[in-house]
Amino acid sequence: MSFISNLLNGISLGSIYALIALGYTMVYGIAKMLNFAHGDIIMVGGYAAFITMAANWCPLWLSMVITVAVCTVLGVVIEKVAYRPLRSSPPLAVLITAIGVSYLLQNIALLTQTANPKTFTSIAAGAPPFLQVFSGKGAVFFKANPYQDEGLKPVLTVSMETFLAIVVSVIIMIALTLFINKTKAGRAMMACSEDRGAAQLMGINVNATISLTFAIGSALAAVAAVLMCSAYPQISPYTGSMPGIKAFVAAVFGGIGSIPGAMIGGVLLGVIEILSKFYISSQLSDAIVFMVLIVMLIVRPTGIMGKKISEKV
């Protein structure tokens, strides 16, 4: 039973990684750059949720809307101010700029919110667990422990946060896949990722398409921020950096630029992290995650879903 519980926790954490990784991979595929400030957009989203949820006037749904809006606008503004002027400069300049933006966001958070971690109230606070399994009694969904009086403890508990993270991520991934494959804006994104010049000559506005990509990526980061801070209820100016790096690993693991790759890579990475935490060593779990990346890059440098690039001589 503990294995199932760990697996579900892993999938849940992995779904959050996948949401973040989607932002990395879409921006890489379409704007051809690595947005290392993506992790810090999560942090900003976390604070936006933290502040609005603490305010009396703000109902939960409104604070979610505000969080997504803040991140979306932030992503688009960062692209316009920091990355667009460098569109035709060498990739290294853009990469360094992205790291600069990342530090800028962290330091703004340090100045305004201080370095002290704050306790985040889960969006599912007070809700009963999604599922509890009792030996000999079967499963109970969406209820507090009905056998409390008999002193019976569940052998498997799946928290509401774990459940929400998986369900919300699955819904978003389906919606995103439909959006990319079935709408004209999605087709414009695919066309830009393949051949920006040809897309332009077919009348596609490349700047608008790249802005849209940043908007979607940042909105996904906002959702990931709320889910992550609910599952691991703490927020500090550095909250975004580790998940940001892990999601980047997930994107590379799945094949950077590939949307299904980011989804698979994210979930796999989450499962590997939680299982190695439980069965191997909780201190070494991060090291194991990065080791998996190194092995992957040696065996299959283009990632799980990446295409082999054959160089013409």
């Binding site: 919606a175 804006a185 087709r187 414009a188 332009q200 077919m202 009348g203 596609i204 849209l212």
Partner: protein, 282 residues
């Protein structure tokens, strides 16, 4: 003959000034579909195109030929806004489009194909054509995300139009195939279909017969003629294949080292000793 060549630019300059007035006073319908005046572009010390003049009438099949490196594709890149000309002006249907962005120029009615095929290889044949229809489809991104009724209506309309266009090129059977998996000749056709999907007034074909065998070229000639008649299109093409040029082009301009070497009716131009010299050497 070379002295005569050197003298002509001034004469042409006067001519265009006169013609300009004439064009302004005359009605828009009688204006040429595409008019290029003294178009030049400089890359560092190299004048890649120097004082080019072109006049293409509506419904005309016009050829731009010349030896390798003459500046033909550069002309296409200026016409489509990829390069900004150093000097000169481009008029499409009487409207000045000089220096506009590729997107604006595409919207105002010029579409092109590429010398080395540049289809969206990882997208289906149908989606390639639909990419060309982006700007004529009226639903917003929000409507697309939320799948409001207009999204379905417009997408359905778009698919129908795209399939109709594919039928013209006998590609409707392969509409769901990846465009990279089409045979070469069909990829060329799909590129023309994608360009036509943007609803152009003027179609630019950059070496459409490159890499084709004589049978495929023959078929391509029929396709080009058919496109011109069926869509009432004006076509400007770059080509090396003399059989294709002499077979379908009504008028030609010959470029050599960025300058106009000859201009006029196809048969006359091809028999011009200057042109023969430029191609074969002395």
């Amino acid at each position: 003959m070379s002295e005569l060549e050197k003298n002509t630019p001034e004469v042409q300059g006067e001519n265009t000034a006169v013609e300009q007035k004439a064009a302004e006073t005359s009605e828009k319908s009688s204006a040429p579909m595409l008019e290029v005046r003294e178009l030049s572009i400089q890359f560092g010390g190299l004048r890649a195109v120097d004082g080019l003049n072109l006049k293409i009438k509506k419904h005309q099949l016009y050829g731009l030929i010349g030896p390798n490196g003459a500046g033909k594709t550069t002309v296409f890149n200026m016409l489509t806004g990829v390069y900004k000309p150093t000097s000169g002006a481009i008029f499409l249907d009487g409207v000045n489009i000089t220096g506009k962005s590729p997107v604006e120029i595409n919207k105002s009615g010029i579409a092109r194909t590429f010398q080395n095929i540049r289809l969206f290889k990882e997208m289906s044949v149908l989606d390639n054509v639909k990419v060309g229809m982006q700007n004529s489809t009226k639903y917003t991104t929000i409507e697309g995300i939320l799948r409001l009724p207009r999204y379905f209506k417009e997408e359905k309309l778009m698919t129908e139009r795209a399939i109709e266009l594919l039928k013209v090129f006998e590609l409707d059977g392969e509409k769901d195939a990846l465009s990279a998996n089409l045979p070469y000749g069909k990829q060329r056709k799909l590129e023309i279909a994608r360009a036509l999907a943007t609803n152009p007034k003027l179609l630019l074909l950059d070496e459409p017969a490159a890499g084709m065998n004589p049978n495929e070229t023959e078929e391509l000639m029929n396709t080009i003629r058919f496109v011109r008649d069926k869509f009432d299109m004006t076509i400007l093409l770059i080509e090396h294949d003399m059989k294709l040029v002499s077979g379908i082009c009504e008028e030609l301009t010959v470029l050599n080292f960025g300058q106009e070497l000859a201009q006029g009716e196809t048969s006359a131009v091809l028999n011009d000793p200057k042109v023969i010299t430029a191609y074969l050497g002395d």
